[in-house]
Amino acid sequence: MSREYRMTLKKRESLTALLLLLPVLILYTIFYYYPLILSIYFSFTRWNMIRPPRWVGLRNYIRMFNDRFFLDAVYVTTIYVFSTVLINMILGLFFALLLNRPTKLAALTRALIFLPVVIPEAAAAGTWTIIFAPGPYGYANYILNRLGIPAVKWFDDPSLALLMIIIYSIWKNVGFNTLVLYSALKAIPIEYLESAQVDGASDWHISTKIIIPLLKPIIVFLLVTSIITAWQIFGPVYIITKGGPGNATRVLGIYLYQVAFEEARAGYGSAIAVFLTAVILVLTIIQIKWLR
């Protein structure tokens, strides 16, 4: 093969590559890189989406940290993220160990516990909206009633409203952790566990001293990815409480939507979006470092 021929081959290959990547590159440029840069630019402007944006420097960011509603939103989001991620992880681990049994019922439970994960968020949120109907006619209130607790106005009490979102979130997501951990569990060589059993180790000992350390990488991965997804929650909150009562369940996603699209303060909204992204970027970097 002559040198020139090889050159043309190489050129042809690059050309083919460019051609095949072209649709993806075009879509990425228009709907990803360009918006990313625009968003950062908008965050330094005052802009109502009608008149051209006006440069205001760091004013949006300074305002953000003096904005009580923003700080409240960060607070609510943090509570939501920590409680759901923690509960989902503990329950997920427990369920994975529980369902790691060779019976038919265990197999059926593994299939059913994953059903809420695939059910669309809005439908799941709609389901819980109905269950938490505030009058004595609501299903949740009826069950509480039978247990001797008077009907509760779920949507009027700040802590109950957040509790609803947390209950929804556990029902919806715990199956994911369960099955990811279960499939990791099945990869552990059975000899490990049998030899421990022969040595007379208790179930608790086997779980905490052998299984959980072996699952640590996947647990860390699940923790970080669920924090990242939980931090962005919007849809279910919008459907169940719309952020209310007051600002009790107004998570960052809801606040961003209200600021940018209901009040048309797109500059300030962009600053909030940049903040939200920065947090996720930090978490992603931690994840990459931690998993190494």
């Binding site: 649709p23 019976t103 994953f114 695939v118 669309p120 968020e121 439908a123 006619y137 179930d203 919008y238």
Partner: protein
């Protein structure tokens, strides 16, 4: 080892029954509420089987304000079809390119594409809205779909899958005079079929969930997708306040979830494996 039933195992299985009930009872409430007339929904104590079956929840709110459940379902299908087909098609081409071809800046381009996967949609929404206004695409299903035809995960997944194909296969075909199109359709495609299935399912399930972006970009009721209808229908019909349109919420949630529930009953193992392999739920 034979399975031994002792007190602990029996307790474990009682717990499993309990878990199944917690999963299923909310869905049962959803189904019965969808078929109850309004008077029965607000009856105390609630009924656990509709005394009187009605289909009014599936259309009455609709007739009232111009929302049509079938139309919304079709809109959702249209968006998911555009996103899934577009993403899988373009991502397979890109995956093949990254896995099989040599060109400059390959790694750099690949990594830049992957960053999309880490960043939240939140940071793109305002510019997207602005771009759509410039393109005069506000209030269209195309606008909902097109921004999502950039599946970083799908590109990553297809690249990994195609990388497993021995390069010798491709080289041998090339020496025998096959061009890239022939290599792609005759050699690559048959091998990646299972991966295409996984990518299609995952992308369909993801796109079926889109909520925030359509909420922003869609204005007219005839363009609403299912989740927007669910969010909207709640405040329609019974004067607001505490007495919301629970029947409408139930009926629309049921219609929205049913295709996915059916899909899951048929492809349960496959879907779980795809999700677990993808490592992500959203």
């Amino acid at each position: 080892m034979r399975y031994k039933w002792n007190r602990k195992e029996i307790f474990a299985h009682i717990l499993m029954v309990f878990i199944n009930l917690v999963v299923l009872i909310p869905l049962y409430f959803l189904v019965i509420t969808a078929f109850k007339p309004y008077e029965e929904i607000i009856r105390v104590p609630p009924t656990f089987w509709p005394k009187e079956f009605t289909l009014e929840n599936f259309y009455s709110f609709a007739a009232l304000r111009g929302v049509n459940l079938l139309r919304a379902l079709a809109n959702s299908f249209a968006v998911s079809a555009m996103v899934t087909l577009g993403t899988v098609f373009f991502s397979t081409l890109a995956g093949y390119t990254f896995a099989m071809l040599r060109f400059r800046f390959k790694e750099a381009i690949f990594i830049i594409i992957l960053t999309k996967y880490m960043l939240p949609t939140a940071i793109l929404l305002i510019p997207w809205y602005w771009i759509m206004r410039t393109l005069r695409l506000i209030d269209t299903l195309l606008a909902v779909a097109i921004v999502n035809i950039i599946g970083a995960w799908t590109i990553y997944y297809m690249r990994s899958y195609i990388s497993q194909i021995p390069k010798d296969y491709v080289e041998a075909a090339r020496i025998e005079g096959a061009n890239d199109l022939q290599i792609f359709t005759r050699i690559i495609m048959p091998i990646v079929k299972p991966a295409l299935g996984t990518a299609t399912i995952i992308n369909f399930l993801w796109s079926w969930n889109y909520f925030l972006w359509p909420l922003i970009i869609l204005n007219s009721k005839e363009n609403f997708t299912m989740p927007i209808v669910i969010a909207f229908v709640r405040y329609v019909g019974y004067g607001g306040g505490e007495l919301l349109n629970y029947g409408g919420v139930a009926a629309s949630s049921l219609v929205y979830a049913l295709p996915i529930i059916l899909l899951y009953t048929v492809l349960q193992r496959y879907i779980v494996e795809s999700f677990v392999a993808s490592g992500i739920k959203r």
